[in-house]
């Protein structure tokens, strides 16, 4: 089902990636941001490669897709600018521009259909739902930490996209921070923003984000992405999701005891008498399952407890947990429950299971997850939904369409370099080369063709094998799956298609060969079969790979490639999610 979502999204944008390519003024990387008054306001944000001049959101309460009827409303972006590039990114990376259209005057609990337009280029039509002004039931999700584990991040985003259509009452996504590895780098934000497109549902519904700044997001780009939530650099603010529910977003990366504590106390004092449910979200965990308690603890916890906060949503630890209710450093049914703590893609850590606040009826574990909060009359239900980790499911080429199979026979050249580049292509006579089964290598006890003489004598191995391009042409996606140590460059019909750990050059002229351990199969997308057939012709073809060791005396070497198509197994979808924890709270006034 996730594949279905990805393909549907891909159909919105005609290229191999399942998100919109940043080209020209094509609107891409869209997101919606809720700050205050989500019943009436939303910030619609997107990116374009070129700065452009005119950036508009068209919106209406009815869909205009497939019709010539104009949208009833338009809002020009009030804020446009270039994402900040670091000095060492200038000239290396192509920059992009952000656009923020702040829309006001919306009707509550209403579906709005919208389309982005930059210099005449329009996005697909999408839609979102405004927050209610009454006490009707609704749902929200919370999650954090997607800075690494990009494959998992994409799958979780696609899962959220599917979930949106399954859950019409789901209206917002509170993000706990650590979106990326380092927030000062556009190189890190760019893929996150593209991957975030995957949270768009197959029907085009977009979930507004309530963003938190994490410890990996210093610098100005966070505010450029989310339009200064809570004020540039400050990023603490209150979102009154309904008249009954408020979420106070805090920033664990600035002073906790100063102005922010003053704000927190004022908000808690103001809101507690008025709200049935009062929650906070912030990044670093105060009652962590991993690491030591965050430094904000002595400044915030007394306020949480004084004003009877209901839930604190935490991230950062890369684990999953729900604490017992806590007051005065002990379990107390009137206390605050802390839920988190970060599983939107990052590898999960082994939590400290012996901490008193994680004992039953609390829980702790390790799993990618989101927290689903369901608000109904008289109850708040928290569900922690565990999601599969694609990195932990064992990849096998046999589970895919195999064009050049795992264990295929290859011609190989060792101990010398080819005279020229002809070896990479068709028409080269390789009859004088040796023949062997992949993988090739030594020193790690998993090689089918062992190169016992390689260590200390030569650093490179050249292999080639024929395949039928016609077998590729019908495949939706083609990938090179490789186990390698330390580096390789792959060619089809003499044209380089991918490389890893060789920074420049090839063959004996390869420069800066990095060390890389073969920890498992790694995948390198090559595009669709149709694209490859168009590029290389539909006839016979040659896959050629050169493998490099970083040093002559390296203790091991591996080169084990195969060419695969889509999975033969169904990708996990909504049914792959598991309920890890469920908690029902009743309002404090009814306890």
């Amino acid at each position: 089902m996730i594949s279905t979502a990805l393909i549907l999204l891909a159909s919105l944008a005609p290229q191999s990636d399942p998100w919109t390519s940043l080209e020209g003024t094509t609107p891409a990387q869209w997101r919606l941001v809720w700050k205050d008054a989500p019943q009436h306001k939303v910030t619609v944000s997107w990116s374009t490669r070129e700065a452009g001049t005119e950036h508009i959101v068209h919106y209406d309460t009815v869909s205009r897709a497939g019709t010539d009827a104009p949208y009833a409303n338009t809002q020009a972006a009030q804020r446009n600018g270039a994402y900040t590039l670091q000095k060492d990114e200038v000239g290396v990376l192509r920059g992009a521009s952000y656009h923020h259209a702040r829309i006001d005057g919306l009707e509550p609990s209403t579906t709005y259909w919208f389309q982005l337009e930059s210099d005449g280029v329009r996005s697909p039509e999408m839609h979102f739902i405004t927050a209610p002004v009454d006490d009707r039931a609704f749902k929200m999700i919370h999650g954090g930490d997607s800075r690494s584990g990009h494959a998992a991040r994409q799958e979780i985003n696609a899962y959220i996209g599917l979930l949106i259509d399954e859950e019409p009452e789901l209206i917002t996504f509170a993000h706990g921070g650590d979106y990326i590895l380092w927030g000062e780098l556009w190189a890190h934000w760019r893929p996150w923003l593209s991957h975030h497109e995957l949270t768009t549902s197959p029907t085009g519904r977009v979930l507004p984000v309530i963003p938190t700044r994490g410890n990996h997001e210093p610098g100005p780009i966070f505010d450029e992405v989310f339009d200064d939530p809570g004020g540039a650099g400050l990023n603490y603010y209150t979102t009154d999701i309904t008249p009954e529910v408020s979420l106070i977003t805090l920033n664990s990366e600035i002073s906790a005891a100063g102005d922010q504590a003053t704000f927190l106390e004022a908000e808690l004092k103001r809101l507690r008498p008025e709200r049935t449910w009062l929650m906070t979200q912030y990044h670093r965990a105060i009652y962590p399952a991993v690491k030591d308690p965050a430094a904000m603890k002595p400044h915030w916890v007394p306020l949480f407890e004084q004003y009877d906060l209901d839930l604190a949503l935490e991230s950062d630890g890369h684990a999953v947990k729900r604490t017992v209710p806590i007051r005065d450093e002990k379990r107390d049914p009137t206390g605050v429950v802390y839920i988190g703590e970060g599983g939107l893609g990052v590898p999960q850590r082994d939590p400290s299971t012996d901490r008193w606040f994680l004992q039953e009826p609390g829980m702790v574990g390790k799993s990618h997850h989101i927290v689903m909060l369901e608000f109904t009359k008289g109850a708040l239900k928290s569900k922690i939904i565990g999601l599969p980790d694609p990195n932990e499911s064992a990849f096998t080429p046999a589970a895919h369409v195999q064009v050049v199979a795992d264990g295929a026979t290859w011609r190989y050249l060792r101990g010398a370099d080819p005279a020229d580049q002809a070896w990479r292509g068709l028409g080269f006579d390789d009859s004088s080369w040796e023949s062997g089964v992949s993988g090739f290598g030594y020193g790690d006890d998993d090689d089918a063709t062992v190169l016992e003489d390689m260590q200390g004598n030569y650093q490179r191995l050249y292999i080639r094998t024929p395949f039928e391009m016609a077998k590729l042409a019908e495949l939706d996606e083609v990938q090179l799956a490789v186990r390698y140590d330390d580096a390789f460059i792959a060619y089809i019909n003499g044209v380089e298609v991918t490389r890893s750990s060789v920074n420049s050059g090839s063959g004996p002229d390869a420069k800066e060969v990095d060390s890389h351990e073969a920890k498992g199969w790694e995948l390198f997308p090559l595009g669709t079969g149709a694209e490859l057939a168009e590029r290389f012709g539909a006839g016979p073809a040659i896959l050629a790979v050169e493998g490099h060791n970083s040093t002559l005396k390296s203790s091991d070497f591996s080169l084990w490639p195969c060419l695969i198509g889509p999975s033969l197994e169904e990708e996990p979808g909504l049914e792959a999610a598991v309920l890890l924890d469920e908690l029902t709270l009743i309002p404090r006034s009814a306890r």
Binding site: W182, P218, S255, A256, G258, P298, P347
Partner: protein, 264 residues
Amino acid sequence: MPSSLLWCLRITVAGQCLAAARIALAAGSEVNGWLFMVAGLPEDIARLTDQVAAGVLIATAASALFRPIRALLFFDAAWMLAISAAIFTNPGSSMSWLAPLAHGVRYAAPLALALLVTAPGRELSSDSARARLAVWAMLLGAAATFIAHGIEALEHYGRFIDLIIGSAKRWLDWSVSQDLAEQLLTVIGVQDLILAAMLLSRRWRWVAMWMALWGLFTALSRMTAMGGGSWHQTLLRSANAGVPLALFLGWWQLVRTTATKPKP
């Protein structure tokens, strides 16, 4: 060689080793995080690294107090360097880039002690190359730490603001505003930079003494602001005070005679 200097370094190293061991065992070190998150090694290996390091650090602490062993002291210095490198390459805050400087005293203390310890019954000449190296390690380490903390203070680093506000509230019941804390940090930052410059250029003994007192005060602020549960954060910073104090204690016998431009 003044025994007070050696004992100062021995206690300093023991303190920082115990704190680093506690962090590695209870919360996971930055090296653990780097191995798991950056190098992609299995968590078992990252945790085992912490456990082995903690064991060696505890042995180093005991050794520092009873009979310093040079190899263990070099390990302590290497571990502190590895932590700085892990923070620098896997940054987790806006000030992570300063870690290699900010931790200068943490490498300097075990390194200086390793250079200054001798076999029982033997005396190290105060003008030997080893003594000279030890002095330079401490001078540069202390200056680096104060420069980094000075920059952080001038940047009004949020954690430092909270140390001031938290300590004033907890111990004096004073409500210090963020604005006032930031003004104080500006003064503190300038002071830190001046102290570092004076230590390296003027070589005034009382500069080292003031740095030791200030280092002790700032290390203790972790506990005064956050409570006794943060004892390990204070102990981890024992070299903030211990290294300048060692310079002060060994000034006449060591620093004054080995410095290239000694000042009385």
